[in-house]
């Protein structure tokens, strides 16, 4: 058990180091590809162990961690000075001060510092099968006029190791260290191209995420003062006595990490970096820490005012981010906004905290990770092979890049439609909340879910609408040959999504329900063959397979079915064909963006002040 966990954490760091030092194409490529089966097997073995497990760490790791902490914050401070960023410097100083106080007041605790339960094991698996393919993708991506391929791939793999470490710590002070390490990793990656825009956005990501760090430190201080404990497991033992203020600050750090409005700018800034960075930030790592953290504390905050305020805030973000996404033109920005939006939904589900809601949250985490990794990989292909970055360039993509468009189409289907995971998540949430409606008012939440999913659907249909436009009479699509590694990664994601969706009911009942059981109690969900039963409602297997068949036909059939019928020009009322046809830009909404953000700031303050009980 200990070895397995250690391997999960240390192996990516070691591989990254080798790649970084060797700087040889053959080593980078083969080692990255090897990482996939190795990490996959190790994470699976960990999952099969007897969980949860508490693991003792030697004393020197503790000391090392403290030294590392100060070193990291010192580095941030240094970056703030040389990049002349006042915010970074001041936040680093505050953190150093708080960390010193924490070091003074902290008492030795005999609770082990590593805690591996089912959620942790799930994240190991997500990192292995969703994160590593992105590294494989990066090995090819960086060969297209980019510099420092080896360094880049090394950072990506190291980031996966950091993520694995972050989800397995029990000690919140360690969690702070790992939280800030992910900040460091994103700082390095976003600033990777070293031009002015990249540096600015990296600095932005750095100071925004440091706010989360400050919040965690404050939370630790309050925990030590009020409860005298600073381990997740200790807190979960006596949920009723835990200081709400500290939980409020922890939630704040989750909201910052999850790029919720008004802290969404850093995630949008990440798009200036090479595309694998976005892929890795959005899918398996970094932003997923946010729902992870809420899931960890969800048994404690369930039903409190803090949870309700979190629901209001994240639900608001779910809708508003989807609305703002409609006004965007940059493909990666659209994807980023939809990530922000869905992260809101995940945290909302985790904050509701009932067993079914937690199931919904985990389903969303898994499917979102797959779909977003997939979509960003395709965005990278579009960028490098087809030189398409904006949706205006996506015109007639169906003729230029049919296969890539088919993958993007499938990714989008995964984000909203029946019977894919995201739909299942929303369905569970709506059903679950309908139960509370009879005693309480969660009507806002239902409106959020209904409206947000409608907005996301029209967003995806809008983008697809531009890309499928064809001239008349084109009888065959040209399949432009893509590099092997690109195809491998795309097909990898495609097959996973497809197979999980077909077997969604057994997948949920055999894989996700045990995870939920370890956090909360057993949800009222089970599989009946391929049908999914929740309370009294049934999603029949014929519905799942039928919808899947319909959608597969819609997104793939046009490439294979050719009617042998005469073609004509569009009738178009006999008028002249326009040369270019765009799509709606929704400018009428764009002007309200400022108001949306302003309101989200108000909600944010409410979460900390009212939810944390500071008043």
């Amino acid at each position: 058990m200990n070895t397995l966990v250690t391997l999960n954490i240390v192996l990516p760091w070691a591989i990254a180091l080798i790649i970084f030092i060797a700087k040889k194409d053959i080593i980078t490529n083969s080692l990255t590809i090897l990482t996939l089966p190795i990490l996959g097997v190790i994470s699976y073995l960990t999952y099969m162990q007897n969980l949860p497990a508490l693991i003792e760490t030697p004393k020197w790791v503790d000391v090392l961690m403290v030294v590392y902490d100060f070193g990291l914050l010192g580095y941030f401070f240094y970056q703030g000075i040389i990049k002349k960023s006042f915010l970074v410097t001041i936040l680093a100083t505050i953190q150093i001060a708080f960390l010193t106080i924490v070091m003074i007041v902290i008492e030795h605790s005999s609770t082990p510092n590593i805690y591996v339960d089912n959620i942790t094991a799930m994240f190991y698996i997500i990192v292995a099968i969703i994160g590593v393919p992105i590294a494989i993708f990066a090995t090819k991506y960086m060969e297209y006029d980019e510099k420092d391929k080896h360094k880049f791939v090394a950072i990506v793999i190291w980031f996966l190791g950091v993520m694995n470490f972050a989800v397995s710590v029990n000690n919140i002070e360690w969690f702070f260290a790992l939280f800030e390490t992910t900040t460091l990793a994103s700082f390095v990656m976003i600033g990777f191209r070293k031009d002015k825009e990249a540096t600015n956005n990296a600095i932005l990501a750095l100071w925004m995420n440091q706010i989360g760090g400050v919040a965690i430190l404050i939370a630790i201080l309050i925990f030590i003062k009020v409860n005298g404990v600073y381990h997740f497991t200790d807190l979960l033992k006596n949920p009723t006595t835990v200081a709400m203020a500290a939980l409020g600050f922890l939630s704040l750090s989750a909201l910052v990490k999850g790029a919720q409005l008004p802290f969404h700018k850093w995630l949008l800034g990440a798009m200036v970096a090479p595309t694998p960075v976005s892929a890795i930030l959005h899918s398996a790592t970094m932003v997923k820490i946010a729902p992870y953290l809420i899931l960890r504390i969800s048994p404690i905050i369930k039903g409190t005012l803090l949870a309700k305020l979190l629901i209001i805030t994240t639900g608001y973000v779910f809708v508003v981010a989807a609305v703002i996404a409609l006004t965007q033109d940059n493909f990666k920005k659209i994807l980023a906004y939809s990530t922000i939006s869905l992260l809101g939904l995940m945290m909302l589900a985790a904050a509701v905290g009932t067993p079914v809601a937690i199931t919904a949250s985990i389903v969303l985490i898994i499917f979102h990770a797959f779909a977003k990794g997939f979509l960003f990989v395709e965005a990278g292909v579009l960028e490098k092979v087809f030189h398409v970055k904006y949706i205006t360039d996506m015109r007639r993509l169906i003729e230029k890049a049919p296969l890539t468009l088919m993958f993007i189409f499938f990714g989008f289907l995964n984000m909203t439609f029946v019977p894919f995971g995201t739909f299942i998540g929303k369905w569970m949430m709506i059903e679950e909340v309908s139960n509370f409606l009879q005693h309480g008012s969660y009507i806002l939440l239902i409106l959020y879910v209904g409206a947000g999913s409608a907005f996301l659907s029209i967003l995806y249909m809008k983008v697809l609408g531009v890309s499928v436009r064809k001239a008349h009479g084109i009888s065959h699509a040209q399949f432009y040959p893509l590099p092997m590694r690109f195809n491998f990664v795309s097909i990898w994601y495609y097959m996973w999504l497809l197979s999980i969706t077909i077997f969604i009911a057994p997948f949920i009942s055999d894989f996700i329900v045990p995870i939920v059981e370890s956090i909360s109690s057993r949800p009222a969900i089970h599989a009946d063959g391929l049908s999914l039963v929740m309370y009294d409602s049934v999603l029949y297997s014929w519905q799942i397979l039928g919808a899947l068949a319909l959608l597969l036909l819609i997104h793939a059939l046009p490439y294979f079915i050719k009617f042998k019928i005469d073609t004509v020009h569009p009738y178009n009322c006999g008028e002249i064909f326009p040369k270019h046809m765009g799509t709606w830009s929704f400018e009428c909404i764009a002007k309200y963006e400022g108001y949306f953000v302003a309101f989200s700031i108000a909600l944010f303050i409410m979460v900390v002040v009212l939810g944390g009980g500071l008043l």
């Binding site: 309908s434 907005f455 249909m461 499928v468 064809k470 046009p558 178009n572």
Partner: protein, 274 residues
């Protein structure tokens, strides 16, 4: 069992409904109108025409629209879960919009985009309506609601009104026939279809009638006669509205749905939940 039969016969029943509607509409305008079987005559005529298409993707989407609508009706009547059925309805919209956007015709593309505005207007409201049914009857199941002793409409008057006013958006009736807009967009998403493919789209619309009016029928619970009365009353009202009003801007439609109908329905649910 009845659900399955109705689903299988849906294109035929829908055809009769559509034929009946055309007569009603004509009588309201002091015309005699076409015979009841006109939709079927149209069917034979359209199937007999030489099939031409813009390209395969476009033609295929017309057929997929028809199949998706039919499947959604099946999910509602056979699968029995209202909430799932609402989400299935979106698949039909997807096929329609993808088809409409795939041709180089501004009428069709604009119609597709407006179709999205339709969706943003009615989709959240339909979810709310289903929740309202759940709050009243304690079940998402169609069969359970059809065995419900009371009259859901008495507890859900505002939801009922909101949904009745949403039907023009769902069925492309004036004042909300914005995506089709015969005088300006010449049918919107349908304009580029012809022959058998147009027939597929056309039949899909009949099926949507059944889908929508099933929800109206549910408002009477286990009192089927009252339910039938409601359906006929709403049917006549929608046609009256269609004849009596002029088309609105799509912005007005979205505003109307979001500023009036959705709050109205939400208020009803809140009052019930309290």
């Amino acid at each position: 069992m009845i659900g399955l039969i109705v689903t299988l016969l849906a294109p035929i029943i829908g055809g009769f409904v559509y034929g009946f509607e055309r007569i009603i509409k004509a009588r309201m305008q002091s015309r005699i109108g076409p015979p009841l079987l006109q939709p079927f005559y149209d069917f034979f005529k359209l199937m007999d025409k030489r099939a031409v298409m813009i390209h395969s993707l476009h033609a295929l989407m017309g057929i997929m629209y028809f199949i998706s609508e039919w499947f959604a009706l099946g999910v509602l009547l056979v699968g029995n879960d209202l909430l799932i059925a609402v989400f299935f309805h979106v698949i039909g919209v997807l096929a329609l919009v993808i088809g409409a956007s795939s041709v180089r015709s501004p009428y069709s593309v604009l119609g597709g985009l407006r179709e999205l505005m339709h969706m943003i207007s009615y989709e959240p409201l339909m979810v709310l309506m289903v929740i309202a049914f759940y709050v009243v009857t304690g079940s998402f199941n169609l069969t359970d609601i059809l065995h419900f002793e009371g009259y859901p409409i008495l507890q859900l008057p505002l939801v009922f009104i909101a949904f009745v006013l949403t039907i023009p958006m769902l069925l492309q009736k004036s004042p909300f026939d914005i995506a089709e807009a015969h005088q300006e967009l010449i049918g919107g998403p349908e304009i580029e279809y012809s022959g058998p493919f147009y027939e597929a789209l056309y039949t899909g619309k009949w099926i949507e009638y059944l889908y929508v009016f099933t929800f109206i029928f549910l408002f009477a619970g286990s009192h089927y006669l009252v339910g039938a009365g409601l359906v006929i009353g709403v049917f006549l009202f929608i046609n009256l509205l269609d004849n009596a009003t002029a088309r609105l801007d799509f912005r007005r439609m979205v505003k109307f749905a979001w500023a009036l109908l959705i709050p109205m329905a939400a208020l009803n649910v809140i009052l019930l939940a309290l």
